[in-house]
Symmetry: C2
Subunit: 398 residues, 2 copies
DNA sequence: ATACTTAATTCAAGTTACTTGAGTAATTCG
DNA sequence: CGAATTACTCAAGTAACTTGAATTAAGTAT
């Protein structure tokens, strides 16, 4: 269940102001430190308007002054930085077997994290647990609760799909007909944002990772399967029914390995945690943890090497598809896979030459490594809250 | 060169006004007839603001009064309707060999079209020709010029790509370093919108075709190659550099036919005007026109039948990818291919079962046929103008 | 019929937040 | 050192919205 899309509403001076605050915040966050004149030029506002907005944002401790910059001609620029130290947000990842909690300051620094095993992921059990975990986190960080900006919850979601469809398997039992946002908001008494892991990770990357300053990019998320988060003009793409980004089941090998979804040659059969586990098990190796995988990579394990090659071939193809369809600033790889493995994968990619991403004027690599590890999704949950506060609506030109 | 949107800009009274006009128009179009008080409640504006906006919209002949409604208590409601008959827009498609002109009323009815052969597509030659073709069209329809809402121009575009990249080939000579919008706006003295054929066709479908009422869908456009237009939450997706939608070069046959882009098995080698032409030529058949193709289909031509089967296989796979990545309300096939051929193609598709589009609650087919024919792109150009006037930016809630 | 209730609309004033243009300040460049 | 350059501020001006009272035209109850 999702929240049905609402139609756009009209603007007035007040709504305009809050839009402009977001525009300015978003710009400063991506381009800090920056001066008012520069902000004004970039945001299409007068310097006077920006001056007023900045003054207010400083008062609200969302921006801070960062001293004068000299060296260029003209009057020295008073530069502003995003002030991310006082306010904070809480992110939780809900998996069938675990609940992970993370707290992030507005600037994206993790100041708390925790992992709790879960025997039961049903709403009746999880909702009170989330509530108590938030209390535990608040106690642990010892911060004023009034500075909590909101809660972001990451959980496997799929909306209205058939039993045997590609995405349906990971769904949490008991949540099929529950509006998760409303349920959590009622229980927690503060704004809640719900998202899937890949989108949350993508947002996290834009809030405080390698995608800072990007407006359009793709994030390929290694979870149990393989997910895709797409940010376009600063906003997450969810599709008509909320199921966008099902990259694991695009076919990269015509007539390849049989997949549970009914097709052959799905990307997920070649590039995912499941696939590396399956491949290693054929050689009698059981590597369930990221730590174990990183170890195997270090000792140049042959089966892992085979997997890496095949994963790289298939990922290259999928990345080519993403580049051609979305024309992103970059494709980011991250999630539940060790950094070293991701780096090795990226190293082995053979990206198509004939892609719209193969531009002569690139200034970032076509593929970047994002943040990874067990906490990625929970951190993403907290990042979603920040994103929501900072990111303005896309502009429609007259 | 186009204007690629990088980030949202701030609002002011004027920008706010034009947003509100769009919000009101969009609402009335979807809920006509409706009164000002109702509009105000739905759009989150005061009745006074709505009154002023409506007055202006009537003046601009975008709304019309539709008499009073009585029967309920209180003062009778003056109801408004969308006025689709008086205002109009002009669309042009610029190809290397032809310039096509079409005029659409706001309600999407074509009231004029024309095709002129082109020996020279350079700016110096084309810009004055466009200007004069518009004059010819205005004379032909005999309408008040003040009701011309804008001009939409469809032309092959690719931004900042390498020579050998997949999309670069179709580019018009002489336009590489020209800002087409600015050039045309300066010459024509009215707002100009520039877009590629696939996106224009997609927008056209939403304004007055099978995608009316859709917020998110994909349009696969048969042009010389194969293009993709993506509408997401009502807005066209263009990617970070404006090159999104390069669907012709996604690989649907691992190790398949060699493509000019350097890869093997690109979709365009199996499903495009080029590919059907190449395939038929192998059997000594030359079918350059849509009419000829439709004829071959009617007489159950064997080589065409072969092509249809192979095109359907590869398109099915590509559509599966679109569904999984974008989760659209539907995928639409259209463009320079006869309706009968498109219908036959759709008939032969074998869509993946394991796709997020395979929902039990679907109320439209997964694949629809859009408008097709020579005029499709020019009509799309005119539709872009309408779309721009009517569709507001999505609202970001606080 | 008459008075009351309801709801849409308008009028006029008030408010917000932006823009504009003149003026000031601080620095580099020649 | 003066000229040029750039950032910023002040004060006035403006567009477009909101507010609250007044007006209008029904329907409804007496």
């Amino acid at each position: 269940m999702t929240d049905i899309q609402t139609r756009s509403i009209g603007g007035n001076a007040g709504r305009n102001r809050s839009h402009n605050r977001r525009v300015v915040l978003d710009f400063v966050r991506a381009n800090e430190p920056s001066g008012r004149a520069e902000i004004a030029r970039s945001c299409g506002l007068s310097t006077q308007a920006v001056s007023n907005i900045c003054e207010q944002l400083v008062q609200d401790s969302l921006l801070q002054e960062d001293g004068f910059r000299t060296g260029a001609r003209g009057k020295p620029v008073m530069r502003y930085r995003f002030d991310g130290e006082r306010a904070f947000s809480i992110g939780l990842e809900l998996r069938p077997d675990a609940l992970i909690t993370a707290v992030l300051t507005m600037s994206g620094d993790r100041i708390y994290s925790n992992r709790t095993k879960l025997g039961n992921a049903s709403p009746g059990f999880v909702v009170p647990l989330v509530k108590s975990q938030i209390e535990v986190a608040l106690d642990a960080i010892g911060r004023d609760r009034s500075h909590l900006l909101g809660v972001g919850i990451v959980m496997p979601l799929s909306f209205g799909l058939l039993e045997n469809s590609s995405a349906g398997q990971a769904e949490l039992p008991g949540w099929e007909n529950v509006n998760a946002r409303e349920t959590f908001e009622a229980a927690l008494g503060c704004p809640v944002t719900i998202e899937n892991d890949a989108t949350a990770a993508a947002i996290s990357e834009r809030v405080s990772g390698v995608a800072r300053g990007f407006e359009s990019f793709c994030f390929v998320y290694f979870g149990t399967g393989l997910g895709l988060g797409v940010i376009s003009d600063g906003h997450a793409q969810r599709g008509a029914y909320g199921n966008a980004g099902e990259i694991g089941h695009i076919i990269t090998q015509t007539g390849g390995l049989a997949c549970a979804c009914g097709n052959y040659g799905c990307l997920e059969k070649y590039a995912s945690r499941m696939s590396v586990r399956d491949h290693l098990e054929k050689s009698g190796i059981s590597a369930l943890t990221g730590f174990a995988l990183a170890g195997l990579l270090k000792e140049r394990n042959a089966p892992l090497d085979e997997w890496l090659n095949s994963a790289a071939v298939n990922l290259s193809q999928a990345i080519g598809i993403l580049e051609n369809l979305f024309d992103p600033e970059a494709v980011i790889l991250g999630g539940a896979m060790p950094d070293t493995v991701l780096d090795e994968l990226i190293d082995r990619l053979q990206l198509p030459v004939g892609s719209v991403a193969n531009r002569p004027d690139r200034n970032v690599a076509r593929v970047l490594r994002g943040s990874s590890g067990r906490m990625t999704a929970a951190i993403g949950g907290a990042a979603m809250v920040i994103h929501k506060i900072v990111t303005p609506a896309p502009t429609v030109y007259q």
